[in-house]
Symmetry: C2
Subunit: 321 residues, 2 copies
Amino acid sequence: MLQTSARLLKLLSLLEMRRDWSGDELAGRLDVTTRTVRRDVDKLRELGYPVHAMTGTAGGYRLGAGASMPPLLLDDDEAVAVAVGLGTAVSAGVSGMEETSVRALAKLEQILPPKLRTRVSGFRSHTVPVHIEGETVDPGTLTLLANACRDHDRLRFDYVSHDGTSTYRITEPHRLARAGRRWYLLAWDVDKQDWRLFRVDRIEPVTPTGPRFKPRDLPDDDMSAYIGRKVALGAYQIPFKVLMHLPAEKLRQRVPERWGTVTPVDENSCVLESRADNLEGTAAYLSTYGVEFEVLEPQELKDQLTAMAGRLLKAAGRPAA
Amino acid sequence: MLQTSARLLKLLSLLEMRRDWSGDELAGRLDVTTRTVRRDVDKLRELGYPVHAMTGTAGGYRLGAGASMPPLLLDDDEAVAVAVGLGTAVSAGVSGMEETSVRALAKLEQILPPKLRTRVSGFRSHTVPVHIEGETVDPGTLTLLANACRDHDRLRFDYVSHDGTSTYRITEPHRLARAGRRWYLLAWDVDKQDWRLFRVDRIEPVTPTGPRFKPRDLPDDDMSAYIGRKVALGAYQIPFKVLMHLPAEKLRQRVPERWGTVTPVDENSCVLESRADNLEGTAAYLSTYGVEFEVLEPQELKDQLTAMAGRLLKAAGRPAA
DNA sequence: TGGTTCAGGACAGCTTTCGTCCGCAAGGCC
DNA sequence: GGCCTTGCGGACGAAAGCTGTCCTGAACCA
């Protein structure tokens, strides 16, 4: 019964689109009698989607919030909006949900019609990049990697190593993970016959992806610990401590969880402690709070701020201090 | 045939979840024979969702990208990620899609299960707010307003007017629009018996929404022109012009479309022209590019930068210039 | 009270579904 | 090329589901 299923889907999409529909309206849209509409509504309810109904002159059907997510029926524009929104969240680094966001994005990108895909990439190139912390990751690359991991597709890419040289890699990707502000790909390097951890912002993928491979046992049971160790070896993070003239609660609202710790000092000020891999970006970031603050440590951050102040004074057409 | 529809949906969700599935696997998951799976796959194809199939040992079914969007079947985590992502995009002001994003978000929020809704609001409070340009709009308020417009629900709210006084309003909301970096609600003020344009960041909604009303004719055919005129009366935007020491193409990638115009000067520099309603925010924004620049006008922006430089020097523990 | 709207039982006629069984075609591997 | 695996789809019959047309109730609103 193709008609029935299709109609059910259409009914659901109508209900998602607007809040109140009368039985007659729905019957007209679906080209069936109201009796069938009632039966279809019952079916949706049996499927677990709570369709509320009100009798009387102001009555009608309304889709409510149930126990589980009903299928989302998006029109083209909305699908683009969702893709762009997820991409923004991923590259802006909304804390605590990176992997899930990437997974959802990967799911969406796989089924996104080509014409919408071009619209998405068009939007992305005009999106405000969060350039405060330096490198941003391309959500397109991220979803490609996520899909390759999920589907066990071999992956080839050019990798720019630390010293700037570029090498060609053939890998079996296994995990995508985030540590601090960076994304990493854990993959088996086919040529080197060993596990490698790649920084995603240095990967330039070569499409299309290769043949499927059989997943290997991961080098450690606790992946986050493993990656944490590997990353720590790089030891790129510099701790800093700043006194902010802002009540602790207010700052907490503006500092992402896990990014740093906020300790109240008195009613109107607090100390922010965190780590940075890029002091220039940190300096710029701190300045955007628009409040008075004092760097407690390290000296390098103070130097960075002094340099930045010099740039600003120059921009304002005055001699640097 | 409830079973058939439900199974079709489940099949779709399986296909969205992973890329390759063999007929046997699917049959197992769905508790039917492979023959039925084949028939179901056919049904999906008839519905317009392209399911590709490969024969042979590495064969299987795969959902491809078709002409239209299939229903998105999200698990709980993914639904939260999408909601948070859309919220981020909305409050970050991803250009050119504001209304669509809000619509999609409104749609999602209406059907989001309560337990997921609390997770979303939890995440939002820990999200990096884009505090560069001053006021941000609460996505929750925005979706509430969008839904009220869509459903023609009367809306009551406290409104903080320009001079800081708060008034209670009963309105019939008609349109939600964005101009520049701000959101506006066009609504009929029931007490005043006239159209009013409210700034969303000054609205404090009173829930629940009121009874439904019958939409009125809008005060103008061209809404964007109308709102543009209304907003222009406020005349809050200050034009500025900055010489950036950065190639025009590079800057274009980082400046959102419509936000401002970029004019190349030579190979390594260009002029950025735009408007701001908040010079302090603009100063902070410009400083985050991490490149040398010079303010051409206005003088106020130069003053702002000087003041900011002073703050930075103080933060670095040196006397202000 | 009358009008409007959803609710759902009963019935008849028609369509669809699904498992079983079958031969066929296409891709990968030895 | 032979062989295995995997998808493809026709035929068939029993069972189940779907839909429109009745109809009676019940809730809500003015």
